[in-house]
């Protein structure tokens, strides 16, 4: 697989920081085209700063970022931004349209998509996030979760090569979150979409092919979700919840039950309990 994002020795400091105080320290990683990578870390670890560096909203102190073969610079930033769609935690900061449909169409107008095609793509995108009934409403009057759906519809319509989600499902209810994750998964399969999701949500992290753990501005660890989830209670320090099976294991242990040390999925845990209880 070809690398669509390559980050090499990225350092970043905010203007008020002194020279030896960095928010991102020597970060290097690559993302393959079509891959879903979750970036986890506690609040203030530098995850969002990293995301803003990737599409040139912030400029690194040193290091290089290469997107789809182009090195990010003042000259290439506009071209690179066309390839990256970003959804933030609080979409209020990114709404521009007077109605939901206008807002979703905004990115397409900028790309010069013909009107007929634009209307079709907007309608399809709103349908995909279950917001068709809200097409003529004002974005500002929607609930937090509805706003996140509209912001995502904007990305579905614009069809970027890379989708960066910065805690983009945090205001959704569990079912809404599951639907949105399924929608993104479907987009990924259909269009070779690359996804980078910054998240505290264990289910969202579990959807990824690979998880990167950021702590104090440094890339501490990377692995498959199962490799990372094996850390059990340590996960809380990494800014993730404990997977449910791990929480239940801890509770069983407190009751004196011998539990397996290896990471179990919920299904694995249910199977194990069933087997154990049928020996009684």
């Amino acid at each position: 697989m070809s690398q669509i994002i390559d980050v090499a020795h990225l350092n970043y400091r905010y203007p008020q920081q002194s020279a030896d105080d960095l928010t991102l320290k020597d970060i290097s990683f690559s993302v393959a085209a079509g891959e879903w990578v979750a970036i986890v870390g506690h609040n203030g670890s530098g995850k969002s700063t990293l995301a803003k560096n990737l599409n040139g909203l912030l400029a690194p102190a040193s290091g290089t970022i290469t997107v789809d073969g182009e090195v990010l610079s003042e000259d290439t930033v506009w071209n690179i931004r066309k390839k990256i769609g970003m959804v933030f935690q609080n979409p209020d900061n990114q709404f521009v349209g007077a109605t939901v449909a206008d807002d979703v169409a905004f990115g397409l107008e900028n790309q010069g998509v013909p009107r007929d095609e634009m209307l079709a793509r907007v309608a399809a995108a709103l349908k995909q996030v279950n917001m068709s009934d809200f097409a003529t409403r004002e974005p500002a009057r929607l609930s937090g979760g509805q706003k996140q759906r509209v912001a995502l519809a904007g990305m579905i319509a614009a069809q970027p090569q890379i989708l960066i989600l910065d805690e983009a499902t945090s205001m959704l209810d569990p079912r809404g979150r599951a639907e949105v994750l399924q929608t993104i998964q479907a987009m990924k399969v259909a269009g070779n979409l690359t996804v980078l999701s910054i998240t505290h949500d264990i289910d969202e992290a579990a959807s990824a092919n690979r998880v990167l753990v950021v702590n104090d501005g440094e890339l501490k660890e990377e692995g498959t979700p199962a490799e990372i989830f094996r850390h059990g209670p340590e996960l809380i320090k990494m800014g993730l919840d404990m997977p449910y099976a791990e929480r239940l294991k801890a509770a069983l242990k407190r009751q004196g039950v011998q539990v397996p040390a290896d990471y179990l999925t919920e299904k694995g845990m249910a199977d194990w309990l069933w087997q154990l209880s049928s020996n009684k």
Binding site: H42, N43, G44, Q89, N90, R137, E138, R141, L142, S143, G144, G145, Q146, R149, E167, S170, M171, L172, D173, P174, R175, G176, H200, I236, K237, G239, L240, D241, M242, Y244, R247, L248, A250, A251, L252, K253, R254, Q255, G256, V257, Q258, V259, P260, A261, D262, E266, K267, M269, A270, L273, W274, L276, S277, S278, N279, K280
Partner: protein
């Protein structure tokens, strides 16, 4: 202080093309001293109901009784100030409302607005900062230099500085990491206990409902469709699913076990409850010293 809704309807922007009916025939009581969770699918009317709790919105028809104050469509906007003091609302992302030069001044802003002297308000600010678990060294710092979690605590201290009797929390842990979420929820439980507060929590986190609330109001499409204890509400998973609501993690997992043939008299709500229920169903060989790899 109890809050009671009687036949409340609410419509946004009536008589315009944007007219939207958000609440329909709401009859519900939030009892004094309760920890009430308000749950419902995205867009079910939770946030609209919430804004009626201190008369930020007035009903289009019907009555809201806040303590002994009656709010009707005819209630004048004057003279609602004392209500705002008794019912403190912490909105989503409350840190976006911080504005003062220092943490102390920001927290003191509310009380001063209600006529408290600057000196007294600053003293209250110091007390409130302690109450939300932040060190006094932050008092003279700019609120904008703090971390997201700290900023949120400062904003909550600003609401507590009004010494409300009812504390309303609209998804107060959104965007915090799991440790921050847990710390924040424990803080509210402690505050409720120490300050004798009635708490209303709007949330999508069913685990928080199971762990903290004693009273649940379920909304769907602008109506109240169920009220009861968390145990009542979570015993009927099919019904919840129909209203697009989830279950606490434990309850969902216990259902999987039921499908496999394990039995529970009542679906458990927390992992400790589930573990205790399971212990009775496991053979003696399952117990031993701590963790092991399977035999």
């Amino acid at each position: 202080m109890a809050i009671e809704f009687k036949q409340v309807d609410f419509t946004y922007q009536p008589g315009t093309p944007f007219e939207t009916k958000a609440l329909a025939d709401i009859n519900v009581t939030i009892p004094t001293g309760s920890y009430t969770a308000l749950i419902g699918h995205t867009g079910s009317g939770k946030s609209t109901l919430l804004q009626h709790l201190n008369a930020l919105l007035k009903p289009t028809s019907g009555t809201v009784l806040i303590g002994d104050r009656e709010i009707t469509p005819a209630t004048s906007n004057k003279d609602l100030k004392s209500l705002r003091r008794k019912v403190g609302i912490v909105f989503q992302f409350p840190e976006s409302q911080l504005f003062e030069e220092t943490v102390a001044k920001d927290i003191a802003f509310g009380p001063q607005n209600f006529g408290v002297s600057e000196a007294d308000a600053l003293k209250t600010a110091a007390d409130m900062l302690d109450l939300v678990g932040l060190p006094a060294t932050l008092l003279d710092r700019s609120p904008f230099d703090l971390s997201g979690g700290q900023m949120r605590r400062v904003a909550i201290a600003g609401v507590l500085a009004m010494q409300p009797q009812v504390l309303v929390l609209d998804e107060p842990t959104a965007g915090l990491d799991p440790q921050g979420r847990l710390d924040m929820m424990e803080m509210f439980a402690q505050l409720r206990h120490d300050q004798d507060l009635t708490v209303v929590l709007v949330t999508h986190q069913m685990d928080d409902v199971a762990n903290y609330a004693d009273h649940v109001i379920v909304m769907d499409q602008g109506r109240v469709v169920k009220t009861g204890t968390p145990r009542d509400v979570f015993q009927d998973p099919e019904w919840l699913l129909k209203h697009q609501l989830g279950l606490p993690k434990t309850t969902a997992f216990a259902r999987q076990l039921v499908q496999k043939g394990l039995h529970f008299d009542q679906l458990p709500l927390t992992e400790d409850e589930l573990a205790a229920d399971l212990v009775a169903q496991l053979p003696a060989s399952a117990f031993g010293g701590g963790s092991t790899d399977d035999e």
